[in-house]
């Protein structure tokens, strides 16, 4: 041993001693309130809608599963706590309120990001971004395309456009297709036959549901032509209470680090597993 390394050893020992004695280092560092609350409780409360929304969250054989459920479990695991699901909310807006009141820590429930909701809660970055989609009656479309190309037909759409009532697509339709005659259907399951029969020229909904329709009823492909609007977006995000900033950051990092990312295709693929050939629920 050289004198030099001996000196180093002594210095090290002194430092270790100093650290051990120092009172400020002995206490665990203070935790942000929101994380502290969750860790103390030992469980992450995740809000969901009461109704199933396959393949996001769905009960099969008494077991809750789906994309949202996986995300919730993954997030809870990264916090090192268990997960509890709160399925008391009867609508998507009620899920948001559950979080705003502090009844649940986070909502992961196929929630679209909207400005109205953004007044009262914080949104994570989107874990899945959908585009708007349309399904056209092929016969109607072929008649239009005698004189116009597909892009012209869509941009200047002036036929009967079917949407599901009380969804954001009613408003989108008015804004994006001002010349269309908008026909509201109470349920998606009523809208599809009307499209096949030609009672409406097209249906308008998010990319995912349009694809799901063709996936579940491939025989529709003969009658329907799908189109997706590249410059429209519908973001699915997690929702936290605005004061839970640390939890929001966790969710942000968790979503950003997701690997592989969720895509419409992978989610659609799960549909086959979770809910094979299930009827359409609006």
């Amino acid at each position: 041993m050289t004198p030099r390394s001996g000196l180093a050893l002594v210095l090290l020992a002194v430092m270790v001693l100093l650290i051990a004695v120092s009172p400020s280092r002995a206490d665990p560092p203070p935790r942000p309130a929101d994380i502290d609350r969750i860790l103390r409780r030992g469980t992450l409360i995740v809000a969901l809608t009461e109704a199933d929304a396959p393949p996001f969250h769905v009960v099969t054989d008494g077991v809750l599963s789906g994309v949202d459920i996986d995300l919730a479990k993954g997030l809870a695991q990264s916090l090192g706590v268990a997960v509890t699901f709160d399925r008391s909310a009867r609508s998507y807006d009620e899920v948001v309120e559950t979080v705003a009141r502090g009844q649940a820590d986070i909502a992961i429930s196929k929630l679209s990001r909207t400005l109205v909701r953004a007044r009262s809660v914080s949104f994570s970055p989107p874990y899945l971004t959908l585009r708007h989609g349309m399904a056209f009656n092929r016969v109607w479309l072929a008649r239009q395309m005698r004189d116009h190309d597909m892009a012209e037909v869509i941009r200047g759409f002036d036929g009967r456009l079917g949407v599901v009532t009380k969804t954001s697509y009613v408003e989108y339709a008015r804004r994006i297709f001002p010349r269309a005659e908008i026909v509201e259907f109470p349920r998606w399951a009523d809208a599809v036959p009307a499209l096949v029969k030609g009672e409406v020229a097209a249906l308008y909904r998010d990319e995912f549901e349009i694809r799901r329709m063709i996936n579940e009823q491939p025989e529709l492909a003969l009658h329907l032509k799908t189109a997706f609007l590249t410059d429209t977006q519908d973001h699915l995000c997690m929702v936290v209470n605005p004061r839970d900033t640390q939890l929001l950051q966790l969710a942000e990092i968790y979503i950003e680090d997701l690997n592989p990312k969720l895509t419409v295709e992978t989610v659609l693929a799960r549909l086959g597993k979770v809910a094979p050939k299930q009827g359409d629920t609006p």
């Binding site: 092929r138 008649r143 005698r146 063709i214 025989e219 492909a221």
Partner: protein, 447 residues
């Protein structure tokens, strides 16, 4: 010296029908038994088609130019050309009419059960030809409108640079140039054009010899081409084909009617025996089935029709190349039935004027399909369906699913129809053959 007898024997053996059928049978067997070997064989089948393709353009130019030049030199040209054009047009319209009638009577798309429609839908949605249509809703409107109708059709026929048409292999344009050039050569003062025509004639004879030489490889090539096809067929699910049974049957019935009609025409015109129209033309028909390439059958058609049915060879040398390119009887029948299938499938009623449109548009579209592949032919459905406002996109996926079979039917019909047209417009071989045979036995070459 020792090589020769074996080479001569080779030609004799390989040209025999027995060899052809052996190759066909062997190919199917290999395809069914050993799919790996079938895949390994596939490139050799393609080589055979490439060899044929190499000879096609010189053959086409020289045959058409020389024949037309001679025709115009010897007089009576306008009359003769008018007869050929009339015969081709009439036959095409008749074929289109038969296709339309078959579509109406068989009604392949009418009264389909709900389960049938469902399985058709599944074929469509599983087809890779149904790409997502994506569009930005805020975009600049497309400015350039593609030309449509007549102007576009003519633009497809007229070359702006004959050498580019040659280098991209655009048969219709090359044919157009050859026609004009042949007429112009024929109009030069008598005797002046002899050097050119005799040079081109040599080119034509050489191309025919080359093609016959290549065709001695047919049994081997058939084996190589049929094997992968057989293994594919064995592996692919029958679903799409079964769902399209009615459609395929209608196509086959239409083709058969036209085929029988042509057989009767040939028999009447040549005065041959009852089965002669088929047995005499056995060789080009087998070639058409084996290669699915109607142009490769030109020498075989000329040879069979002149030697076995006694048609004038000089006339054949003009009519057959023209006919193979312009007499698209297969596509004509296909377009007629397919358009009606779509209309029936979507329960769209058509009126008399629309049937007339289909009749003539299918003739135009069929001619425009010349030189294209099966997929391109199907793509031309747009020419018929767009003006009628019929939704053809989904149907295209259906047609593609059964195209390997229908492509075969179409090629056979093209070749056989050319034979029929030739039997109508060509004279009989009155005098004895005064020229040497095209493909002299190798011994006589003094090797």
């Amino acid at each position: 010296m020792t090589l020769l007898p074996s080479l001569d024997g080779w030609v004799r053996v390989m040209s025999s029908p027995a060899a052809v059928f052996t190759g066909l049978g062997l190919g199917i067997a290999i395809g069914l038994v050993s799919p790996e070997s079938a895949t390994a064989l596939a490139p050799y089948g393609k080589l055979f088609l490439d060899l044929l393709g190499m000879i096609v353009l010189p053959l086409l130019i020289s045959a058409v130019t020389v024949s037309l030049a001679k025709l115009f030199e010897t007089g009576g040209a306008a009359h003769q050309v008018g007869r050929i054009a009339l015969a081709i047009t009439a036959c095409m319209v008749v074929a289109a009419g038969i296709g339309l009638a078959t579509g109406l009577i068989v009604a392949p798309g009418g009264n389909l059960a709900q389960t049938d429609i469902a399985s058709l839908g599944e074929v469509v949605s599983s087809s890779e030809h149904q790409a997502d249509f994506e569009i930005s809703i805020i975009g600049t409107p497309s400015t350039a409108k593609p030309e449509q109708g007549l102007a576009r059709f003519i633009a497809q026929i007229i070359p702006d640079n004959i050498f580019r048409a040659l280098s991209v292999g655009d048969n219709l344009k090359v044919l157009m140039f050859s026609l004009m050039f042949g007429i112009a050569v024929g109009m030069t003062p008598r005797g002046r054009a002899d050097a050119l025509t005799s040079a081109l004639e040599t080119v034509f004879q050489s191309c025919q010899s080359m093609m016959k030489g290549v065709n001695t490889l047919l049994p081997l090539a058939l084996c190589a081409m049929v094997a992968p096809l057989a293994s594919d067929m064995a592996e692919t699910p029958l679903g799409p084909v079964r769902a399209m049974t009615m459609f395929v049957s209608a196509q086959c019935i239409g083709a058969l009617v036209v085929f029988v009609l042509f057989a009767i025409v040939i028999q009447q015109r040549t005065g041959c025996g009852f089965l002669a129209p088929i047995t005499a033309l056995r060789e080009p028909l087998i070639l058409a089935i084996g290669t699915r390439n109607s142009i490769a059958c030109i020498p075989s058609v000329i040879e069979s029709m002149s030697s076995k049915l006694g048609i004038n060879r000089k006339d054949l040398e003009l009519v057959v190349p023209l006919g193979i390119i312009l007499c698209r009887f297969g596509p004509v029948v296909f377009f007629g039935i397919s358009t009606l299938f779509i209309a029936q499938l979507y329960r769209i009623d058509l009126g008399p004027s629309q049937y007339m449109f289909i009749l003539f548009a299918s003739v135009m579209a069929a001619m425009a399909s010349s030189g294209g592949t099966g997929v391109m032919t199907i793509g031309l459905m747009a020419l018929l369906c767009n003006p009628l406002g019929l939704p053809f996109e989904a149907a295209v996926a259906l047609f593609l699913a059964v195209d390997p079979l229908l492509d075969l039917v179409r090629t056979v019909l093209n070749v056989y129809g050319t034979c029929a047209v030739a039997s109508i417009v060509c004279g009989r071989e009155s005098d004895q053959e005064e020229e040497a045979p095209d493909f002299p036995p190798l011994k006589s070459l003094g090797i």
